[in-house]
């Protein structure tokens, strides 16, 4: 019995040791050219509803001059738009991506606010140029409001 227990402990130690070793192994290194040509970034979309309550928005975002892949879209900074907006996860940023959200509550932003953060992967050495077009911007009575949109790239990794 004692011998069996010792054998069991030995096998357990060997297995656990193997698992730990496989975890601490360093990840495979990418070739220098590949590693340096891929970076992750984000693009913030900011809307200024100019004093009107922003109940709904929809805009198009495009990336030009670089190979940009959509990674995901996060919500904004105001509590009304903190949840991720609607977007098509299969959208191609070289073509366009449409991002939209609404809020039926009373607490709505009336001043310039970041409504969404688009996470992207940029391949190549070129600097992408982003453009946004505001399609829909409405107040809580579903009436269009005058608003402006701007986009800016966040710190790259």
């Amino acid at each position: 019995m004692n011998r069996v227990a010792r054998m069991f402990m030995l096998v357990t130690i060997v297995l656990v040791g193997g698992a730990v070793e496989s975890r601490v192994q360093s990840p495979p290194t990418l070739p220098a050219t590949q590693a340096s040509s891929v970076r992750f970034a984000w693009v913030d979309a900011v809307i200024d509803p100019q004093g009107q309550p922003l109940a709904a928005y929809q805009f198009e975002l495009k990336a030009e001059s670089a190979d940009v892949t959509l990674v995901g879209v996060e919500g904004g900074e105001h509590p009304a738009y903190v949840e991720p907006p609607y977007y098509d996860p299969k959208a191609n940023l070289q073509n366009r991506i449409v991002i939209a959200a609404f809020n039926t509550g009373e607490d709505l932003p009336k001043t310039r606010t970041r409504v969404a953060r688009v996470m992207v992967r940029v391949s190549g050495t070129g600097q992408p140029r982003y453009s946004a077009k505001l399609d829909v911007c409405a107040s809580s009575d579903a009436k269009p409001i005058n608003a402006s949109i701007s986009v800016m790239e966040g710190a790259a990794q």
Partner: protein, 159 residues
């Protein structure tokens, strides 16, 4: 080994002649059914068949009636639970609902979803045509579907 004994044959009991004739009459084959008996049997069989036919017909009609009643009850129950299910809408209305263009401006955008969501949140009357997914209820699923259609840009359906 067999042996014939004439004395034993004389000792066998003798069956009376009348009994023998009666027994023979009892077991003789029937030569024919009397016409009266035949007609009685036939009448009885016809009556029994007719009764069976009537019963079968009654059972069929009762089954059909029960099925119709069950279908009516189900339809009534559906109508009470989901009034929008059975309400008729115009074809154009249905077409708009299918597409999701709630405000009728010719395109599906986030405002269509917002209009429906606002009506749901404020407990306002809901248009049955807003049932975009066709499940008989206007709810958050319809709002999500309209919103997804509004932002859909890739190939394939938005659902």
């Amino acid at each position: 080994m067999m042996s014939s004994d004439p004395d034993r044959a004389d000792q066998e009991p003798r069956v009376p002649e009348k009994l023998r004739e009666a027994m023979a009459r009892l077991y003789e084959p029937l030569t024919g059914v009397p016409a009266e008996l035949d007609s009685v049997i036939l009448r009885d069989a016809r009556g029994s068949y007719a009764r069976r036919q009537r019963w079968s017909l009654a059972v069929r009609w009762a089954g059909a009636g029960l099925a119709a009643a069950a279908a009516l009850a189900l339809a009534l129950r559906l109508y009470i639970a989901h009034p929008s299910t059975l309400r008729s809408a115009t074809p154009a209305h249905r077409q708009l609902a299918r597409v999701g263009d709630v405000d009728g401006n010719g395109r599906v955008d986030i405002l269509d979803a917002y209009v429906v969501a606002r009506a749901i949140t404020r407990h306002q009357p809901l248009d049955p045509a807003w049932d975009v997914n066709g499940d008989g209820v206007v709810d958050r699923k319809d709002v999500d579907l309209i919103a997804r259609r509004a932002v859909h840009v890739s190939e394939g359906a938005a659902e």
